[in-house]
Symmetry: none
Subunit: 402 residues, 4 copies
């Protein structure tokens, strides 16, 4: 089989997505997700201008060789743009191979390791009361695991809390919205929030929380410690992890499980975190992590250190990436949980999927490949609109981690 073409399609059915379609001389094609929220065009250009012509004529079954060709052959390695472009190609190649062999993708990755895949979703509110209420509401929808974020007293606009019905941090505009932040106010509030939430919902539900890289290691350690009695499933992105040893301090002080990785793009971003047992969940998502090929290796390394997966999965990655995560999660032994926020109807109209979600769990059927279809015609009716994730400033104006 030979690759005959690669198409990069950008659409905005509710939000922006970059989709890759790899075509072959046998008629089988594969889909990949190349969405990098707020930097879509850079990935699209990387694919169109630099990768497409390299792939024509290659045998799409050679996933390992092609991945190395793109990763090592780029010379300039790593980083979100590069790895998302490679990831989209790799996902599409695995889609092709499993379609060609007429099996669901997970069969090529080791078969079925479980029946269903637990997901967590988001609950949020402008204040404590509203947030507790939303947690209850989300629990009643059947979710077994809920990420809880709330407005912070004294702060106008905070990550994870939306005015709109569906949460979407990226805003369509010519520049990022500026939010504000006070770690002191946040740290004061969060333990109270979880005290109230846990009291309301009882022990029989997983609660998660995302600190979104904003804390220093010692602040994260304090938070982890003060949340211990509420038994979180995980505390996410407790500190920015560019230096992985920042997590040593946190780990030393608290038994709250730690999750990190939505901004990672390669095993090298988390290798130390793993071999020193500094985390409990690795949150790289398939598209941003460079595809199925490297994610299998990363999950393998994680398994040696009792680390489970917890793939990043907000609505800013398309259902193609969601499907890739689910097949990946189905096959490995150390699956943990999958983030899931649902999709707006326009998105669902463009991307139709065979995976099913019900009662807090995903299931996969026997559809070959990823089991996702992309309606190119409909997609064209939703042209790209520039959007940005917010930026974040401290109260004195200091540029801070968002």
């Amino acid at each position: 089989m030979k690759i005959t073409g690669l198409k990069v399609m950008v659409c905005s059915p509710g939000r922006n997505f970059v989709t890759v379609k790899i075509e072959t001389d046998k008629g089988v094609f594969g889909l990949g997700d190349a969405t990098l929220n707020g930097r879509e065009k850079a990935v699209a250009a990387y694919l169109e201008s630099h990768l497409t012509s390299c792939l024509i004529g290659r045998d799409p079954f050679d996933t390992e060789d092609i991945w190395n060709y793109l990763y090592k052959g780029a010379y300039w390695r790593r980083g979100p743009v590069t790895m998302t472009a490679i990831g989209a190609v790799d996902i599409a190649l695995w889609d092709i191979k499993s379609k060609a062999l007429e099996v669901p993708l997970y069969q090529l990755l080791g078969g079925k390791s479980r029946n269903r895949l637990m997901a967590y979703t988001h609950a949020q509110g402008q204040d404590l009361a509203e947030t507790v209420e939303d947690v209850v509401a989300v629990k009643e929808q059947g979710f077994r695991a809920i990420r809880v974020q709330s407005g912070i007293p004294g702060l106008k606009k905070v990550y994870g809390v939306s005015d709109k019905e569906s949460y979407e941090p990226a805003v369509k505009s010519s520049r990022p919205v500026e939010e504000n932040w006070s770690t002191a106010k946040y740290l004061e509030f969060i333990p109270k929030l979880f005290s109230a939430v846990r009291k309301e919902v009882g022990a029989d539900i997983h609660l998660l929380h995302d600190a979104h890289h904003r804390l220093s290691p010692i602040e994260a350690a304090r938070l982890g410690k003060e949340l211990e009695s509420y038994h979180l499933y995980w505390l996410e992105d407790a500190t920015a992890a560019e230096l992985q040893d920042r997590f040593r301090i946190i780990r030393q002080h608290t038994t709250t499980p730690l999750a990190v990785g939505e901004v990672f793009n390669s095993v090298y971003d988390c290798h130390q975190l793993m071999i020193e047992h500094l985390i409990d969940y690795i949150r790289m998502t398939v598209a941003h992590g460079g595809g199925i090929t490297p994610m299998m290796k990363i999950a393998n390394l994680a398994s040696f250190h009792n680390i489970k997966t917890g793939c990043h999965g907000p609505s800013d990655l398309s259902p193609i990436n969601m499907a890739a995560c689910l097949h990946f999660g189905m096959a490995i032994n150390n699956y943990g949980i999958q983030e899931y926020m649902g999709y707006p109807q326009e998105t669902a109209d463009v991307f139709s999927t065979s995976y099913k979600f019900a009662d807090g769990y995903f299931t996969l059927d026997e559809s070959p490949g990823l089991g996702v279809n992309y309606d190119e015609k409909k997609a064209k009716t939703f042209p790209y609109e520039k959007a940005y994730l917010p930026i974040n400033r401290l109260e004195d104006g200091t540029l801070w981690d968002w």
Copy 2:
């Protein structure tokens, strides 16, 4: 002062360059280099589609805040595409500030720390004899430091050796050229090469060598050890450095000085290498390292650990980056050496520079800012042509580091 516009210009006067021009309401403008060899369009798209509108209206003097705005504000951090885009903006902003204050850029970075800046260039040959001859020829041109690469007996085409008069690894075509490799043949040959070269040129010339990421740590350790008596200035890219602790093995076995970093984009790519004293030269170049702002921080960290700079500087980065490296190098105490291969005449016609090169050394004059002009009209006569760096395979076909 306010930024009024950002232009991204791609041209190919001999080879491809991406140039950023930031304009202000006071008429002062700044230039930055955004060239990422073989991935030019991705950086251009990153800048045009995602950064331009964020910068309009900003005070160009706020380099630290803008850098953090672009770095932290991207959310998806690090990597060559992102950091080269940010680097180009940062260089242009420093160009603006030093032009506005009517001083050469180095004055804003600490003033003059030396009179002149030593450079090294490349010598090469298809075999040992031709290489020795070229080293002698290059030495006679006045160079004090020469990187020596050679064809390897039994290998058809090897990194660092060119058929053409001027060495240029990137080839204008629709896909990468494939070269081949045998570490065994290479390791057998290189000590003989340096024995012959050192014998021919004597002790009074700096010899450098680039292993181009192709060795395992223990192979690199063997090579470093076998080269000790030829007293290399440095052994470059001894192993691929994605895991920085790979260098511990090399360091343990040899006193040959080690240089690395042309593929690094942030301090986090070399932090461990530095604090463990594992390297002697950090080779990040200003444009790829995210600009003047982070490079000053990186050089400072390096200085605590006896590490000097040795900026990557082949012809695939434009004279704008070269000027940025020279001003940076002029100001810091721990300047080491600058790579320099000259530029084709077409390039020199588009980019006119105030820095001078003679007798193995660069000098800077009192021109304000970077001291580089870009002839936009002439540049347009050299339209972009797709080009790729080669890829590399072992003799059995295994995809290998190039």
Copy 3:
């Protein structure tokens, strides 16, 4: 531009200050602060007898080279006298450069990274009740952050608590006052103090505390742990830090943030504290840390490790150092907080400043350079009077850390 002279001026408008004035052939001059409380004359002699003649004729813009000339050229490196002398020269040179270029100093250090700079001041009392009262009073003055020190039951005279209206530990006399100390009494009392203070002032104010080097690591660990629920902004000088690894024990036991550094003079005094993430705030002040040149490097290193600045700034450093700290703090991303105790009126009469303080925050205007003037004539009316910081003994007479 050439340096034509260096004047060292010692005056005592309320307290002793050593001021350096560097003059140039262009009429521009720069001011530096060389005050080392209780050791003023040693620094003055270092400058007058050993540095002045070295600087005449040098280009004042060459800050990096001159700094290295003074630091490496001294041969006998580091320590408070040497580094304060060098620091004063470096501050004056940066004052010259920014005045000559007609920009506020922060513009040469990266521009504005925030709008305003939070400060903390001191509250104190002879006992718990008086201290709580003073905290409330200070809070009502608009301070957002308050360092709380108190008399300890059973101890006659303790650091940080003054009989006089304005706190000033240095006493004008022929030898140091002797205070007394009991770590046991202190450790018993402090948690009660903070319990009472936090109860009184609520969560919305930053509380700081200074243990002033008097505890062993394990005592500091106990204190940090017992203060955790009062959420200190920082615990300062938890133990004497001559061996930096003393902080490992403290760090292991408590999430109370740690600040240290007012007695440090070089990056080598805190390098291990930083790279092991053992502290959260580095408290070196610009004058004692060797000036702007090294402090920028130190702040950069700190930034990689989530460490913020918190410059030492009691009234025993002149408004020149305060201005240097503020410009430095304005430019860097990882500014934390600035210590500020105000100045007696006589001091304000001699040193007029363009920085403003209101409502707990400093602001800077567009005045070029540091924005500080020194009235030489008025200064001469306040001649130097010998003064000493106290010494400290345990109840059995053992000489202890003050």
Copy 4:
């Protein structure tokens, strides 16, 4: 007994010395050496302006308490100026106590641990031949251990080599002499030098060499390795030791014994070097190390790690310090060697000593105290003349370690 006065006397009999005389109500007085080459006046001011009045009335026998009073009571700790001032006081107090008890000082430090104390001196020459000749000459004078330094081919003026008969790096002038340096040229030459020297003088003489802080760790490692077969007694100041872990790299590569410490002023400057067994000789000298009191503790720590002493002892410290080093060396078990360059006649006229030097060894007699007299009258005929140690620049003008 009470201290009644402290006199600080600066004289220049051949070179500058700062001498402290502490007087008591019993008529016994003590002498201390406060010389800090090129920074004499700063130490003198530290003593006169800040320490004198604190000591009046104290019991001079309380050496431990007074040392802590001066060290901890200064608040601003460490560094050459502070520690040399304290060191001079401490030496004078021990001189008083041993004179009052009518015993040689070593009796108070543990008595006699050996009969005689081996010294090393300097040999030097403008080139290899001259240096070999001088080594032979020095050997014939009876020295058992010789530090060998030589002019380097291609460098005009190098540390350790003098035009004058007696070697003296400090030059009387208004600013430092500038020397130049090339590590490459130095490293090329030194192994050849030692090959020639060892061949000439045979195995039965100790050869030492001083790299004077100019090498990076890896360069020092190379040098140590290439000198191994010449069996050096030690390689001194292999790299600047502000970060002590720089010595790990050197230690890893070579068995050449390592000595360091002439610029250290406290145990904290070498604690890591000791507890990690990174050095073999600690070269702190008594006056600069803060006196007899701390040096006994430092020698004790050294003894746990098989480290011997090798006190810095060029002619820029007075015979008072030399006597202090010898009494100290006589008493401890882990004495190694003493540097000794002799003194010009003028110096010997001012300072008369009871220690004897003959045949490569020092001996001490039964004179009480240090056994040194200072002729105040004669000293006054040699007034202070400003002098500086040189500074050092690389060939491109970079300020380098001298």
